[in-house]
């Protein structure tokens, strides 16, 4: 005689690391028989950005803060949308086109919570994770990309972004 489990606080894992992202490991970390949906998002490096051919991308992070902020982003999104587990990782160091720079695995009882949570995590990563990228181009030269100013300039809460997709810029994944 069993009954469905009560809603528990979400379980969150976050890392910022120079190691390659292993998609199956991310998925395994969130899998649980109580859940009916597992969703994996990978952001990958594109060859063409703003009509220039990219040969390499260098990610720099404020590591200690980025790790805490990524965990907070994942926790907030999972709580808001009712997901059970989130494992999120952001790369640092040099990446080539095709390689994953960010990975987000979400598990939830139902798919809607998983999709909403995953979307919010990647949007908030772009909005406030202290990570920067520098592109190197086939025609020579390199440049730090224009980023998104962190809202409120000095940490005023950005407010819930539930289900809201940010405006798609040219540099979006």
């Amino acid at each position: 005689m069993t009954s469905p489990p009560a809603q528990r606080p979400p379980v969150v894992e976050a890392d910022v690391s120079p190691d390659p992202i292993d998609p199956s490991s991310l998925v395994e970390r969130v899998g649980h028989p109580d859940d009916g949906a597992v969703l994996l998002f990978l952001g990958t490096v594109r060859t063409w950005n703003r009509e220039r051919e990219v040969t390499a991308l260098e990610y720099e992070a404020y590591g200690a803060m980025a790790r805490e902020e990524l965990a907070e982003i994942a926790r907030e999104a999972a709580e808001r949308h009712g997901a059970s587990r989130v494992a999120a990782v952001h790369r640092t160091g040099a990446l080539r086109p095709g390689q994953a720079s960010v990975g987000i695995a979400v598990a939830a009882v139902h798919r809607d919570a998983a999709y909403r949570t995953s979307r919010e995590v990647i949007e908030e990563v772009k909005r406030r994770l202290p990570v920067w990228k520098k592109e190197s181009y086939a025609d020579g030269g390199s440049a730090w990309l224009d980023g998104h100013p962190v809202a409120g300039r000095a940490g005023e809460p950005t407010g819930p972004t539930a289900g809201a997709a940010g405006p798609a810029g040219e540099d979006e994944a």
Binding site: V125, K126, R128, R153, D171
Partner: protein, 88 residues
């Protein structure tokens, strides 16, 4: 910023710079002396004077969390200047 007087105590603040800010500042971190009770907003004003060509849209993190302009800085705080972010 609180009015400076000869008796005003000062605090030392070590500021970290990332990405293009590191290029602009010419270093990864630098220490600044400020009057006691200085705030995040005071620090930003000081940095704008000290570092020519500092871009706009900067945030400040204190002890690894985004800090409001009114937060008072103290000796030993871990302070970082956060340029517009481009993760993902």
């Amino acid at each position: 910023m609180s009015p400076a007087s000869p008796r005003t105590a000062t605090i030392g603040v070590q500021v970290r710079f990332f990405a293009l800010l590191r290029d602009r500042a010419g270093c990864a971190e630098r220490s600044f002396e400020m009057p006691a009770e200085s705030t995040v907003a005071d620090l930003l004003e000081l940095l704008e004077r000290e570092i020519p060509g500092l871009p706009s849209g900067l945030a400040v993190a204190v002890d690894r969390a985004y800090a409001p302009p009114g937060l008072e800085l103290r000796d030993g705080h871990e302070v970082a200047l956060i340029p517009p972010v481009s993760g993902g």
